[in-house]
């Protein structure tokens, strides 16, 4: 009945089918979007369009296509990860690691701030009424608009490098943590609260022995969401910092110079990174659920 008991192929089937459809659509779109440029080029040079497979080959192997074909992105990825030293400025791994560092720092800060805010809100109802509207409002401000301000303001007071970028990740990541933790800290069965009262437990004991453990699955689920948006925050933060390093920088540099293949490979790298982070936290989450006695 569970997914685990099915053979691997049966489980992978739907995933592979979707992937196949995706590739067909992608190649089709690449043909449709890149063909006009190839045609114009030929006309300008007074050359006849190629025909058959040669035409397809030409369209799908342009240097600066409107939409790069999957194999072009794969080639670029291979060239910039496996064939380049990590220390090289042209290595995508080098840039991904910089973004990862920003993401993790921002995510860590966001988690800590989120938990502290949730605890404060829990112990003070007035604080909930005072803080919650601001916390929600903070997320309605477009991050692209506020990111340069944060960088500029922090730069003015002498904070540079990793930290300002991480703050932008934090700005996005703390939100799901606060919301999840406020809910989680109140989530335990009312009878368990009654029980604590019959033991005349102190607030401190109530927090450590009931509220906190009961909130753990809520925290790990929130962290799964938070890490993905922390990555988005890190990439956005790399844009106004002058596009020196990181996946965001690769995206920006790519768009300056019309290097669509570079943009796409950075995008693929970013989503691989996000998938790995979310999967990792997914493991933590399911561990926490099992440990806290939730049967899934």
């Amino acid at each position: 009945m569970s997914a685990d008991s099915q053979p691997l192929l049966a489980r992978m089937g739907p995933v592979l089918a979707v992937l196949a459809v995706l590739f067909v659509v992608w190649y089709g779109s690449a043909m449709a979007l890149n063909a006009p440029f190839e045609h114009d080029q030929n006309q300008r040079n007074g050359v006849e369009d190629l025909s058959g497979m040669a035409w397809v080959g030409a369209v799908l192997n342009q240097k600066r296509p409107v939409l790069p074909a999957p194999h072009q992105v794969a080639e670029e990825l291979y060239a910039t990860t496996v064939k380049k030293k990590i220390t090289s400025k042209r290595s995508l791994v080098h840039h991904a690691l910089i973004t990862l560092k920003t993401t993790l720092l921002g995510f860590g800060l966001g988690t800590v701030i989120g938990i502290l805010l949730a605890v404060a809100i829990l112990h003070n109802l007035a604080l909930e009424r005072a803080l919650m509207p601001w916390i929600i409002a903070s997320q309605t401000v477009p991050i692209l608009a506020i990111a340069p301000m944060i960088i500029v303001v922090l730069n003015a007071i002498g904070v540079q490098g990793l930290l300002p970028k991480a703050f932008i990740s934090t700005y996005l990541a703390f939100f799901p943590i606060v919301v999840g933790m406020v809910k989680g800290l109140r989530a335990a069965d009312p009878q368990l609260f009654d029980l604590m009262r019959t033991y005349s437990a102190s607030n401190w004991q109530l927090f450590w022995k009931l509220r906190l453990p009961a909130s753990l699955p809520y925290l790990t689920t929130s962290m799964k969401i938070a890490v993905a948006i922390a990555l988005v925050g890190a990439i956005v933060a790399e844009l106004p910092t002058g596009a020196v390093a990181g996946l965001g920088a690769r995206l920006l540099a790519g768009s300056y110079y019309g290097q669509t293949i570079q943009i796409w490979s950075a995008l693929v790298m970013a989503s691989v990174l996000a998938a790995c982070l979310v999967a990792l936290l997914g493991l933590v989450d399911s561990w926490a659920r099992r440990r806290m006695g939730q049967q899934t």
């Binding site: 009878q191 009654d194 009262r197 019959t198 033991y199 022995k209 009961a214 006695g293």
Partner: protein, 277 residues
């Protein structure tokens, strides 16, 4: 001289008998204010019973039996009247951890194994690890759960979970055990077995037990005193003494004495319900 001795002894005797009371409620009322208007959960409850008794609250849903128990446990505050638990206020009794409370659901902490669940109140009391271990082992043995220390609640049957929660209440070593329909969710076979166990436990430990139930045979089988309650407003209809011998086994349920008390309880319940019509 002898007269004087008797004179001076008598007030002392009076004081002694007062402290022998496990619960003493006078004119107790509790009204919940709800959006639909006030709900009279308890109305003018007068009830007292001695330490060492086994008292059942029986009545239909909404008669306030659980609420009355929660007042005794200081989980609800009465709106009128007074109540003493072991001679002190419910709050003082709670602070002194004078009672153990067993809920209808086992209410075990899902992230703690059985030993850690039973040890939880002891951790909160600040007992050392050695004494905790000793008390956990002793009380798990009492409910026949030795060997299940490392199991998690979901690995146990409903009956075993409820026994673990009883062990947890006993671990505090309270004088008073408050049990709110502890076997309500269990099937009859398990229930009979646990009823026997709880009687043996009561005999062995000489604790006072207050027991909320829906079941007439259960109340007669277990109790020394049966408090029949009726709903809207929640009040005491009658208090029936149940003077069967302390040592009872399940076969007592076929004796005429047992059936006679059961009949009186049933009549009390019927009377309590017809009152409102």
């Amino acid at each position: 001289m002898t007269d004087l001795a008797v004179e001076s002894a008598s007030p002392r005797h009076q004081a002694d008998s007062d402290t022998q009371l496990a619960v003493q409620a006078k004119g107790l009322s509790l009204t919940f204010e709800t959006a639909d208007g006030p709900v009279h959960a308890l109305s003018d409850i007068n009830l007292s019973f001695d330490k060492g008794e086994f008292v059942s609250f029986i009545g239909p849903s909404g008669c306030g039996k659980t609420t009355l128990m929660r007042v005794i446990a200081d989980l609800e505050q009465p709106t009128a009247g007074s109540v003493l638990v072991n001679g002190v206020s419910p709050q003082q009794a709670r602070m002194a951890r004078d009672y153990g409370y067993v809920f209808q659901a086992a209410a075990l902490y899902p992230w703690r194994n059985i030993a850690d669940n039973v040890g939880l109140p002891l951790e909160i009391m600040g007992l050392g690890a050695a004494e905790r271990r000793e008390r956990v082992a002793k009380n798990l043995a009492l409910v026949e759960l030795t060997g299940f220390e490392r199991k998690f609640p979901w690995q146990l049957s409903g009956g075993m979970q409820q026994r673990a929660s009883i062990a947890r209440a006993l671990a505090v070593e309270p004088d008073l055990l408050l049990m709110d329909e502890p076997f309500g969710a269990l099937d009859e076979i398990v229930r009979d077995h646990l009823n026997q166990q709880i009687l043996q436990l009561w005999n062995k430990t000489k604790k006072t037990i207050v027991f909320v139930t829906h079941s007439i045979p259960e109340s007669v089988y277990l109790s020394t005193k049966i408090v029949v309650m009726s709903p809207r407003p929640g009040r005491i209809h009658s208090i029936i003494d149940c003077d069967l011998p302390r040592e009872r086994d399940l076969s007592i349920r076929e004796t005429p004495e047992f059936l006679e008390i059961a009949r009186r309880v049933r009549e009390g319940l019927r009377g309590g319900n017809s009152d409102e019509r």
